[in-house]
């Protein structure tokens, strides 16, 4: 422990959410390498994380929030680059379902990320240059192992709850399987125990868009003036479609034209949906590293929890005393209810304690980030129930 240097880089109160949010960075030195699934070890490893709320005396109120592909540690604090409110502002805060008045929250940027945790944009100590494509290929298991290393360092033995949507949900499942004794309750949301062929296909389109951008320079754009903004923007545009639903696209945009009376017989953004996607793409590139996008999408593609347990998903949860709450959304076609139900089935077959809720919405995969009152009341009720069993004081 003595070799670890921890620095608090930032303590700030996010006024908009009224949450005490504290930024931290911890670096694990060369003699504490992180062993990766691909067979190599990586060191040093830096983990950047935010904390919200207050830890109680017996450390029994700690929730780990796992973020999705393009998320980060700023679940409920304003983003340092975009200045926008936290990505889970609807859910996290005082009096909200994940109540910062009751729980102590930790949200860490994932391994391979680009918001302070070690990733491909960071310097390789061996060469003194950014890793780029020499960064080892990482997995969901590696991300979770890095988080466990952080908890060890913080002397946190177990978590009241591990919670997350999409890729965050994959981490939740990995946590419950790899560290059952450290997870009192687990909420995998809009996720799957394996990445489907269709999902791998969409990721591959995104990666090829990045790699086809000449400014990508085989991943070594850090030494050049330009970054592959266009490729990354196209990747984001394609991915963004998968986060929505046909019904929501129709409701929000239909065939409406963008600031014009009629079509222009050109390739300008005539339609509102085009303008919207271009905006999504171009704002994304300011806050995200293209190589991080490659590595993290790959980690999701490689995720197949059952494969690590003899091909039987149920074996991943054998003997688990964790309380699970699986949540899916009716219009989510990226991580459909059927994938979530597969998780429930596996949990049932080992008689695990599981709740399963499907929320009716037309907002697609993104619904887990949005204002969905029924989802919020279900999650808040599940946490209340788990809190009773954990012996936490009731809601005041």
């Amino acid at each position: 422990m003595t070799d670890i240097s921890q620095t608090d880089i930032r303590t700030s109160t996010d006024e908009s959410a009224g949450v005490q949010a504290t930024g931290h960075v911890v670096t694990f030195s060369e003699d504490q390498p992180l062993k990766l699934d691909c067979g190599v070890s990586i060191a040093p490893v830096t983990i950047a994380y935010q904390t919200y709320g207050r830890m109680n005396a017996d450390k029994s109120n700690i929730i780990l929030i796992c973020h999705a592909l393009t998320g980060d540690q700023h679940a409920a604090s304003s983003h340092p680059v975009t200045g926008k409110p936290g990505w889970w502002n609807y859910m996290v805060g005082p009096g909200k379902p994940i109540d910062t008045d009751r729980y102590y929250l930790i949200c860490a940027n994932v391994l391979g990320g680009c918001m302070g945790t070690t990733g491909p944009a960071d310097l390789d100590p061996k060469t003194g240059k950014p890793y780029g494509l020499t960064f080892p290929v990482i997995t969901i298991g590696d991300m979770v192992r890095a988080q466990a290393m952080l908890l060890d360092h913080l002397e946190i033995e177990d978590l009241f709850c591990v919670l997350g949507g999409s890729m965050g949900g994959m981490q939740v499942l990995q946590w419950a399987a790899a560290y059952p004794d450290r997870v009192f309750s687990a909420v995998p949301i809009a996720t799957a125990a394996k990445h489907s062929a269709q999902n791998i296909a969409f990721h591959e389109v995104g990666r090829q868009a990045i790699m086809a951008d000449p400014t990508w320079h085989g991943g070594d754009y850090y030494s050049h003036e330009e970054t592959p903004r266009k490729g990354l923007a196209v990747a984001r545009m394609a991915a963004h479609i998968t986060y929505l639903s046909e019904a929501a696209l129709h409701r929000k945009f239909g065939r409406n034209l963008q600031d014009r009376e009629s079509i222009t017989y050109g390739f300008d953004a005539d339609f509102q949906i085009e303008s919207y996607l271009r905006h999504q793409g171009f704002t994304f590139v300011d806050r995200f590293d293209a190589n991080s996008y490659l590595y993290i999408t790959r980690a999701m593609d490689y995720f197949d929890l059952a494969a690590d347990y003899g091909g039987v998903l149920a074996n991943a949860f054998k003997g688990s005393s964790t309380r699970f709450c699986v949540v899916s959304f009716t219009s989510d076609w990226l991580f459909p209810t059927s994938e979530n139900r597969t998780i429930v089935l596996a949990l049932n077959s080992v008689a695990a304690n599981v709740s399963f809720v499907e929320i009716e919405t037309d907002k697609g995969h993104d619904a887990f980030l949005l204002d969905e009152p029924e989802f919020h009341s279900v999650l808040s009720g599940f946490l209340d129930g788990a809190a009773i069993h954990r012996g936490l004081p009731p809601k005041s």
Binding site: N348, N353, S355, F356, V357, S380, G385
Partner: protein, 212 residues
């Protein structure tokens, strides 16, 4: 017994009968748990590890929002996912008559539960017999209040019929309670013709016959 018990909201009489059959700290699965009131009672009054299965998604969401462990599922299809002997008690209250194949459901329940508790409306009740005999039409009563063409109750039976099914699947009726139209409950034994005539509802505690 439990000093807290008196402070809980009153359960429906047949649910209270069921709750009284369940030991403290047991593992319980309530199949067709509705709004979760029995589960909540068992969890709070008897510290039971209580789980529920409910067909309606709205019902499930309401239960989970109350802090109960409930999944969306169908008694006819989803019980086969559970391992054998997973629960101390499996409960099916006022639901067996609405299942597609009651025999399979009973077999699955006796497989996954060491004890099975079933409550059902008695189609052998004198009022049912009287209505059919007198009017020549399908009976419509307080506990069976839908006309034949829209009733969800597709497999109605009498107390005698049900006990027969229990024997057929290798089960043992450990306890049988008849409830009359005034809500009064009394224990009865086996194929009691009197109970079959006067009970509007019945609750059974069933175990598996020990092999050999």
């Amino acid at each position: 017994m439990n000093r807290m018990a008196t402070t809980f909201p009153k359960l429906r009489p047949d649910l209270q009968l069921i709750a009284d059959m369940i030991a403290d700290d047991a593992r319980v699965l309530d199949v067709g748990c509705g709004d979760g009131s029995l589960l909540e009672y068992l969890m709070l009054a008897k510290r039971v590890d209580a789980r529920g299965v409910e067909l309606s998604q709205a019902g499930v969401n309401a239960c989970v929002a109350r802090g109960l462990s409930v999944i969306q599922g169908d008694a006819d299809k989803d019980l086969q996912d559970y391992p054998s002997d997973a629960f101390d008690y499996v409960i099916l209250s006022q639901t067996i008559q609405a299942t597609v194949s009651p025999k399979d459901v009973m077999e699955e329940m006796t497989r996954i539960g060491k004890n099975v508790i079933v409550s059902l409306p008695n189609f052998g009740h004198w009022r049912v017999r009287w209505q059919l005999a007198l009017s020549g039409r399908m009976p419509v009563t307080k506990s069976l209040d839908d006309p034949w063409y829209s009733t969800p109750n597709i497999h109605l039976c009498s107390i005698k019929d049900f006990i027969n099914l229990v024997h057929n699947i290798g089960g043992v009726v450990e306890r049988a309670v008849a409830v009359n139209s005034k809500g009064r409950a009394r224990d009865f034994i086996g194929g009691d013709s009197f109970a079959n005539l006067y009970a509007e509802e019945a609750v059974f505690l069933i175990t598996r016959r020990v092999a050999g």
